[in-house]
Symmetry: C2
Subunit: 189 residues, 2 copies
């Protein structure tokens, strides 16, 4: 590796962290490198910088492509492909969230929906279905909300986030404006 110490630290960290996610070391390091690189890199440059075999880099890049996290471009007079991470970190974040949803959430929701369609007879199964419905509803609510909110312009999203839990005040305000005064009893869940 002929990386600067600063970049090396960053790259190695993502290599390690990768394993806590489902991602492997190679893939983590490659993306970290692309993310901080000033210009697109070709596979040989990546392999050289990280000390991985050319073939390992090829597989890692393919994996990243399947996550839609890389951009590919060509230089005039050069046949090799040059890879980079998108400039806009919000776009990266959105893509990551979408892919994780597709791979991790959707199959679970689908399994839960199927399970909830079953006509449970035994007390065991009925209780299990109750729990599964709670889980299903929570996941669905959360992911739908998340994808809704992600549709906001980053600028608006940032100001929403900066409000933090003060957003509650606006919910209260909303209720007042609507003059919805029923259901005053506090929940003691």
């Amino acid at each position: 590796m002929n990386l600067t110490p600063l970049i090396q630290t960053f790259v190695l960290h993502f290599g390690e962290m990768g394993s806590r996610w489902g991602i492997n070391r190679t893939v983590g390091q490659i993306y970290a490198l692309l993310y901080v690189a000033r210009a697109p890199l070709n596979a040989d440059e990546i392999a050289e910088a990280l000390g991985f075999s050319r073939s390992n880099v090829s597989m890692g890049l393919k994996e990243l492509e399947s996550w839609r996290l890389t951009r590919v471009q060509h230089k005039p007079g050069d046949r090799r492909e040059y890879f980079s991470a998108p400039e806009d970190i919000w776009a990266i974040f959105r893509t990551l969230a979408e892919e994780r949803r597709k791979r991790e959430i959707d199959p679970t929701l689908s399994m839960l929906r199927d399970a909830l369609m079953e006509n449970a007879t035994g007390a065991e199964d009925q209780h299990a279905q109750k729990r599964m419905r709670e889980m299903h509803d929570l996941i669905e609510l959360t992911t739908n909300w998340f994808s809704d909110v992600q549709k906001l312009e980053p600028k608006n999203l940032v100001s929403l986030m900066k409000m933090g839990s003060r957003v509650q005040k606006f919910l209260d305000l909303k209720d007042k404006l609507k003059l919805v005064t029923g259901g005053k009893s506090p929940s003691n869940s």
Copy 2:
């Protein structure tokens, strides 16, 4: 396994899904079982139901305890420990989010902060630091917001989520109320 087909499907799904998270099959299955179980289970019952060795179950339960995802209780006249998942799925969700933050986000934020303290000289490093700052700010904003919002009462959180991106209207409303009209130039990120 003497589980009903319904429960078996659920349990097996979480076993598989576990590996997409950092969690292993055993741990995933154990938690799925505890989650749908009508009553707390002891380690032998879990081992028997899932077909795992007693020691494997012991390690799995220890792992789940380290995530603070289980409750332990005793039955009168029975020395064995009985395990269960919390009733309130929002509590489970919150715990999970907190632990993942602690294990996956905080170390990264800390690494980024250190990297940003360095006095970068080369153009490479300066660019890298710019990218790292973007990442740092996004992660910090998102996680702080997330933990803020999680402090809301589930009831309020649900109504917030159900608003989805219509929350935008209230942000606009907020701006109007404040009569903050400066900085009209649109960003073209």
